[in-house]
Amino acid sequence: MKQSTFGPWLAMIIGGLYFLVPLLATFEFSLRMKRGEYSFEAYRVVFADPGFQASFSYSVALALATIVLGVLLVVPTAYWIHLKLPKLKPLVEFVTLLPLVIPAIVIVFGYLRMYNSSSILPLTNSARGTDLLLAFGYVTLALPYMYRAVDTGLRAIDVRTLTEAAESLGAGWPTVLFRVIFPNVRVAILSGAFVTFAIVMGEFTFASLLNRPAFGPYLQLIGANRAYEPAALAIIAFLVTWACMGLMQVIGQGARMVSRKR
């Protein structure tokens, strides 16, 4: 019995139109800044804007800080759970899923109440303190993705044998963790890192309510005041997301190919 492929093709074509038309429309719109001709004027204006440069680099720095903090928090924890405390696994998994249950705006509302200037730990008193709070907030937002990625990575290797082999050769725990476990789950760490990067670059609520000059609030400001630049910025943001997800796939496939060759 040969299956008809009419329905599946129809679904794909309608889906494809829905997803591609907004991208094309945005791109076309972004080229219309100069009257009567297509030009990259809007992109030139955006890139020349000091506000764009400052907020974009602020968010990149913040994303990198978030990735480092997140990796240092998640990898040792997931490793320890795999090795010594498998019974705690459901609890840790539950905690890492909580940021999906509690909306981001509620979490940052709690931060503002708990870490404001009249509290015991007034993190929001200084710009650096608020940056730190924002980075911790982003670690929280990325926790479900980072933990899932690292957990999958650890499942694929023999944690116990690697640890015992390293220990019997005289390695202390920092050596085991940083020179044995980290390199073995680096693909998982990288894929978690790229998701984290994409999340931080586009995030608005945390940065806006904590009043930090990140890329998200900048986008909102431009959107409220300009006509063509927002379209150009949307294309730039889409390319950043695309780059993150694309790199993630390439790294994942590269690792799969290497392991198949072995």
Binding site: T77, Y111, A224
Partner: protein, 299 residues
């Protein structure tokens, strides 16, 4: 006699185990401290605040105050937009995933769809609002094209991007891909042999779906739809960039409350947040439970 002799080393072993467990707990302390300070305590702060009055006494008054027309309508519009985008996103996402996995399409379709879904599910927030304004806004490409090519004025039909359907249509851009990403492994779990076996036994296509495929798939489908619901319910940035504060949904109300206490009652603000946690909590809690049921068939 023999029993006591055996019990001694057992007990020592047990005690050693307790000792190592206590030591092992130190290793996960940073994680739990982090979760406590940056996830649990801030949320608890709001929950406790929701049940207190400004004088610090316990009360249910804040929750009762939620039942005023503006707040109820904010929750209601949020629930409607989230439900519409979750159900539509769930259905369309399911058809796309099914078409890609077992629709008999060329092999390149599937990885292309999955890669694109990975990108699109993360392409939310403000840039997404910009993209839809450039497409379906009053000056958007599609609006202008329909008007010039067919003389069809979209906005005269009552459509407005800054409305219920406009917001739902925009949310679908990240909802559909998320459904595709989560449901594809579940559809992969439908074994070809099941379909063949049912056909050999004389089952029709409808019977196959009714008695085999849907009973296996429904926990993942329903669960993911609930995840989509919570996903849309907590979204702030897309709606804020799209509609400013012209649309009265609960996240935008809470955003305004956090910024400038528009309700003139901080404790009512806490109650507003607690109401949101309740709704996303029930929705996502059910999702997590259903997911563990759905995974039984994927082994």
């Amino acid at each position: 006699m023999a029993a006591t002799a055996d019990a001694l080393p057992q007990r020592q072993a047990a005690m050693r185990r307790v000792g190592t467990t206590a030591f092992a707990l130190v290793g996960v302390a940073p994680f739990f401290l982090f979760a406590l300070f940056f996830l649990i305590l801030p949320t608890m702060f709001l929950i406790v605040g929701a049940f207190k009055n400004p004088a610090g006494d316990w009360t249910l008054g804040n929750l009762a105050n939620l039942f005023q027309p503006t707040i109820i309508s904010a929750y209601w519009i949020s629930i409607q937009v989230s439900a519409a985008s979750a159900i539509l996103g769930g259905l369309i996402g399911f058809f796309l995933a099914y078409a890609a996995v077992s629709g008999g399409l060329p092999a390149w379709i599937r990885p292309t769809l999955l890669t694109f879904s990975g990108v699109a599910s993360n392409f939310a927030g403000i840039p997404l609002a910009f993209a839809f304004l450039a497409t379906l806004g009053r000056m958007g490409l599609v609006t202008v094209f329909l008007n010039e090519a067919f003389g069809f004025n979209l906005y005269r039909t009552g459509f407005n991007l800054l409305s219920f359907w406009g917001l739902t249509l925009t949310y679908l851009y990240f909802q559909i891909p998320l459904m595709v990403l989560i449901l594809t492994p579940a559809i992969d779990g439908l074994k070809r042999e099941w379909r063949e076996a049912s056909q050999i036994l004389g089952a029709t296509s409808v019977q196959y779906w009714r008695y085999i495929a849907l009973p296996v798939l429904w926990p993942s489908m329903l669960g993911t739809t609930l995840l989509l619901f919570a996903n849309a319910f907590g979204a702030v940035a897309t709606a804020y960039a799209l509609t400013g504060s012209s649309m009265n949904i609960v996240t935008i109300l809470l955003y305004a409350q956090v910024r400038g206490d528009v309700l003139h009652d901080p404790h009512l603000g806490y109650a507003l947040a607690v109401g949101m946690i309740l709704i996303t909590g029930v929705s996502n809690g059910t999702y997590i439970w259903l997911r563990s049921r759905g995974e039984r068939w994927l082994r």
